[in-house]
């Protein structure tokens, strides 16, 4: 097993580490960097729970090796809220809309939404929904997640809901 020295920033802090080549980014972030908000749900890139931002883009940290993050700026769900506890708009929207139950898939959904929303002009709502289709939530039936995403994409939370048979 080969070991490699890596340097990266995690939530704005510089990290240096020696890692085995086969260590996934998700396991590195959880085990070495203590970012246990990174949740590993399937380890094959389907469920999306492990999503983090690498240089601003949402990636599945179970499908990326820690060595591949050398030199990158990584943001996890722990890095979004302000130091005073003020939630990121994505977190606030999910909280307001009851967008979570068990919370296990939530960090990944937060990171995908954070990577796509908040820009001006607002991101195309279809793009947001398409991105969310790469996340599996077993608890909520996506009701609150969809309301939050619509709100973040500049739509009314229930826009598009049919009103008659």
């Amino acid at each position: 097993m080969s070991e490699h020295a890596i340097q990266l920033t995690i939530n704005g802090r510089a990290h240096e580490a020696r890692v085995e080549s086969r260590l996934t980014l998700s396991d590195f972030l959880r085990g070495d960097a203590g970012c246990t908000g990174v949740h590993v749900g399937c380890e094959h890139g389907v469920c999306g729970a492990c999503t983090v931002m690498v240089d601003g883009a949402a990636v599945r940290s179970c499908l990326m090796l820690a060595v591949q993050a050398n030199g990158a700026a990584v943001t996890t769900v722990e890095g979004l809220a302000d130091d005073d506890g003020t939630l990121h708009p994505v977190q606030q929207a999910l909280r307001d809309e009851y967008g979570l139950q068990c919370g296990f898939c939530t960090p990944g959904i937060v990171m995908t939404l954070a990577s796509l929303t908040g820009a001006t002009p607002a991101t195309d709502p279809d793009k947001v929904m398409n991105a969310l289709s790469g996340h599996i939530c077993r608890c909520t039936g996506y009701q609150g997640i969809r309301r939050a995403a619509r709100r973040l994409a500049g739509l009314a939370p229930t826009q598009g809901a049919p009103t008659h048979g």
Binding site: R22, G37, L94, C102, M129, G165
Partner: protein, 921 residues
């Protein structure tokens, strides 16, 4: 509809959409799930698992694995032989067949754990697991329900592959005659595919032994109290020596109701090796080796008179129990609720659970849900064939509020169900006539729209017949700091019980919601409770919180009144402040009162210190929730894809604690329903190899598959439980499947009656649309042949049981008793009665006087006396019992030497095996 029904009530917090207490930590990555726990010296576990479904282990070669650096230990069944372990069911009953922790000589399913590898990290543990070489003598596996009926014994020491059975083996002649003579007989036969509960967090455990012989077990589970009790009883350890901690849990849905083989192996491994061990199941393991649910077959026959009124019905049911079910099960609840809300005069059934060489059965949200699927699909088919509107057919048969009280043929005593009233509300929200016009217009354009309806009743918060589900506890106190702390026996795997219990307490006490903290994560504080099971937490936990809060409020008011020298009636606690009314109005903070209560108790009533209260609440025996749902779909005739256009729910869930949480439970259940109808399927090849082992093969609904749901609670009535709450945890998963199936069948009726072959994948729907022949599939079970009189069906059949044996029980093979003579009957006996919840053991005495028999069963400090007859060595006696229901149990037994064998006939519930052993000396 009743005009005088009380309206659902709301309070300052009860009934409000309060923000969840759980969410801030979960949204910021600060939840604590089991994989987030680390302790010094912790080692990591991976399992070497069987690659075959059935065979004998010839040899295990651990040498290469042992030589790998970083490997600490390799643990096999031999290493665990020093521990005595009873792998109990959720009901804490002995299993029907012994369940080994690790495979012991034989493997019985693909994924059966053979060796537990303990290494420095999980990567190394998996490396080592891959270096283990096990040689097997492979045997042909028993995979399907059909295999189980004809194949080899899954467990060689048993006498059949029937794991559990209820109902009558023989057909009831009168019932058959009624079915045959009726104006219309509808028969529906189908199989339900196997489902993986698939919580997003897999199973996991960290077991930390302490030098004093104690254990801390961090566990992903449904309730730390029940799991601590389970470990204590299964391992015969004092319960206080085992502390189960379960903070955040990433979903469960029935899977994590009790510890199972892997979790127990890790706990034993930690004790054996004296090191903390962690095992986190990966998704491959979860989809192959975690217990699963729902693989069933049913043949339901229902007869109607010319006006569409139900006359009689019979169900034949089979359930795949796998090799090691978490409680062998023939699922009596299916039969209890199949026609539980309908005016059906006569019903009979046969239900069997079967062992197979597949991973075992566990619970899944609404384990009996197939009853609603079978009934509602059958009603739609019958309506089409009889030319009656499907809604009208339901209305003619549903039991309305004004019809109650009502007792069903299965002995279900109904007092406040309301599916018909929910349907009334639903039809105010869904314009069926307008839809039919739209549907007709669409069909002319080659577009296929359909509408489906279903109603159901759901038993929630049961506190009868199941010893582990009787009550929940709440311990409340005003801390010296003035905040309110509650330790409750509820538990959340997403349920939000820290929120709902705090709402109830804050509302009832009169303190701000923000000042109430709820703890439910640690078995070492608070009292016993089962946690999340049977949709019980709002009703049972909420009731406990109400009663405890009332006690605490009384204590607060009495204390303040005593200190201030005013009447108790003059003290009001509002928004956390004590207001003194009357001549000298003033206010006192809860903090000031707490200072005195803890720091200057001489000023308190009777000099007692502290502001604390606790209450253990037993809810009513069953609290019923009712609902009616409708959905509208469009099926694309070119692709076979189903688009759900609208879904409307109408519920009676009583008083709601938090409507957002109620709706979240309904929506989550419906999403799982949509998955089970359209895409989810655990599948096996002919050798028992799982063929859906990733989330690319086991398909789960995404945001595009689940529509927005519309909710209506207009039909809600408070329940008889404290607070008027009703449970809502499982209903969506019960009523969702028939609602969607009926809509799809309605859409595709121009192509003929849709065969119910789950899941209804695009390929299957296209085959129906294009009228292609179906792929040959095994036929569901036929109804029993050779009708024979069923002597044991009482005129007024009621469910089962005795104080000494308080559950329905499986039937025994109908073997003739071999007469013998000169047998000694009198004396003490140890009996075992086989019930669906596992064998029940009890003591007893028998005495004879000529041909007269008298005897007593002794169990749980209770005695049940009976008299009967003796003919040679053959005994007969009846035992009338009243709990949990009135019934006469009819016993027949034969004594040979020091053993007694027989059966107990329980009316409509069939027979249970009875075995006895003479007490010597």
């Amino acid at each position: 509809m009743d005009d005088a029904r009380p309206a659902a009530t709301t309070g300052r917090y009860i009934g409000q959409r309060v923000a969840r207490k759980e969410d801030t930590r979960l949204l910021t990555g600060r939840g604590v799930y089991v994989d987030d726990v680390g302790v010094p010296g912790m080692l990591h576990v991976a399992f070497h698992r069987s690659p075959i479904a059935r065979g004998r282990i010839r040899s295990i070669d651990l040498s290469a694995a042992r030589a790998l650096p970083g490997v600490f230990a390799l643990v096999t069944a031999d290493d665990l032989a020093r521990f005595k372990v009873d792998m109990l069911s959720f009901f804490l009953a002995q299993p029907v067949v012994p369940v080994p922790v690790l495979a012991n000589g034989r493997v019985t399913y693909v994924g059966d754990p053979v060796v537990m590898v303990v290494a420095q990290d999980r990567y190394l543990a998996e490396d080592a697991a891959g270096l283990i070489v096990v040689e097997y003598d492979e045997e042909d596996p028993v995979v399907t329900l059909d295999d189980a009926k004809t194949g080899a014994l899954v467990h060689p020491d048993t006498d059949s592959n029937v794991a559990a059975a209820t109902g009558a083996e023989e057909l009831d002649e009168d019932l058959e005659a009624a079915l045959a003579a009726a104006a219309h007989l509808e028969t529906l036969a189908f199989r339900h595919q196997r489902i993986s509960q698939s919580p997003m967090e897999t199973r996991g455990v960290v077991a930390q032994p302490h030098g004093s012989g104690e254990l801390t077990v961090y566990l992903s589970c449904q309730g730390p109290q029940l799991c601590a009790r389970w470990f204590a009883q299964a391992l015969e350890l004092p319960q206080t020596s085992i502390r189960v901690i379960s903070k955040d849990v990433g979903g469960s849905f029935g899977l994590k109701g009790q510890p199972w083989r892997e979790e127990v192996a890790v706990v034993l491994g930690a004790m054996l090796l004296r090191r903390p061990l962690k095992w986190i199941e990966d998704r491959l393991e979860n989809l192959t080796a975690a217990n699963q649910a729902r693989e069933q077959e049913i043949t339901l026959r229902a007869a109607f008179d010319a006006e569409g009124r139900l006359v009689a019905s019979h169900a034949d049911y089979g359930l795949n129990n796998g090799a090691y079910p978490q409680g062998a099960d023939s699922n009596i609840a299916v039969m209890m609720f199949l026609w539980g809300a309908h005016k059906l005069p006569a019903f009979s059934f046969r239900a069997r659970g079967w062992f197979t060489n597949t991973v075992g059965l566990a619970a899944y949200r609404g384990p009996w849900a197939i009853e609603s699927l079978a009934r509602e699909v059958l009603l739609d088919r019958a309506a089409r064939r009889m030319g009656i509107d499907p809604i009208e057919l339901r209305r003619r048969n549903l039991i309305r509020r004004s019809d109650q009280p009502w007792t069903t043929p299965m002995g279900l005593e109904l007092t406040d169900i309301s599916p018909a009233e929910c349907l009334d509300v639903l039809l105010q929200k869904v314009d069926v006539a307008a839809f039919r016009a739209e549907q007709a217009a669409a069909r002319r354009e080659g577009r296929y729209l359909g509408i489906g309806f279903a109603t159901y009743i759901e038993p929630t918060a049961g506190s009868t017949g199941v010893a582990v589900l009787m009550s929940e506890s709440a311990h409340l106190r005003v801390e010296p700091t003035g905040t309110v702390t509650a330790v409750v026996s509820t538990h959340s795997q997403g349920h939000g019980t820290q929120t709902t219990m705090a709402q109830v307490i804050a509302d009832r006490l009169g303190v701000p919601y923000e000042h109430v903290e709820v703890y439910e994560d640690d078995s070492s504080r608070g009292g016993y409770g089962s946690g999340a099971y049977g949709s019980r937490q709002a009703v049972a936990g909420g009731g406990a919180c109400i009663r405890a809060a009332d006690l605490l409020l009384a204590r607060i008011r009495e204390s303040a009144a005593h200190i201030l020298g005013v009447r108790t009636d003059d003290i009001v606690l509002r928004n956390g402040v004590l207001h003194v009314t009357g001549d000298k109005p003033q206010t006192v903070s809860l903090r000031d009162l707490a200072d005195i209560a803890y720091g200057d108790p001489d000023r308190m009533p009777d000099g007692h210190a502290g502001l604390e209260a606790q209450y253990r609440y037993r809810p009513p025996p069953i609290t019923m929730t009712s609902a009616a749902h409708a959905c509208i779909v469009e099926v694309d005739a070119q692709t076979g894809f189903v688009k759900i256009r609208r879904w409307v729910t109408s519920e009676d869930c009583g008083n709601m604690i938090n409507p957002a949480i109620v709706e979240g439970q309904i929506a989550g259940g419906l999403a799982q329903a949509i998955g089970s109808v359209l895409m989810e399927e655990v599948s096996f090849d002919a050798r028992g190899n799982p063929t859906a082992v990733t989330y690319k093969d086991y398909m789960l609904p995404t945001i595009f598959d689940v529509p927005e749901f519309e909710y209506h609670h207009d039909a809600s009535m408070p329940s008889q439980a404290e607070g008027g709450f009703r449970g809502v945890g499982e209903g969506g998963c019960i009523v969702g499947p028939p609602t969607l199936v009926n809509a799809i069948a309605d859409a595709l009726i121009p192509f003929g009656e849709l065969e119910l072959e789950l899941p209804l994948t695009p390929a299957r729907l296209l085959a129906h649309i294009e009228q292609r022949p179906e792929i040959a599939r095994p036929k569901p079970a036929e109804a029993s042949e050779a009708p024979a009189p069923a002597a044991d069906a009482p005129a007024d059949p009621v469910p089962v049981a005795a104080a000494a044996h308080n559950v329905p029980a499986p039937s025994a093979p109908q073997e003739p008793f071999a007469p013998a003579s000169g047998a000694r009957i009198d004396g003490g006996w140890k009996f075992v009665l086989s019930t669906p919840m596992g064998p029940q053991a009890f003591d007893g005495r028998l005495a004879t006087d000529g041909d007269q028999l008298s005897g007593v069963f002794i169990m749980n400090m209770d005695e049940a006396h009976f008299t009967g007859t003796v003919t040679g060595n053959q005994l007969k006696w009846d035992l009338k019992v009243t709990k949990p229901m009135k019934i006469t149990l009819k016993y027949e037994a034969v004594v040979e030497g020091d053993t007694l064998t027989g059966k107990c006939k329980m009316g409509v519930f069939g027979s249970a095996k009875l075995k006895g052993e003479r007490v010597k000396g």
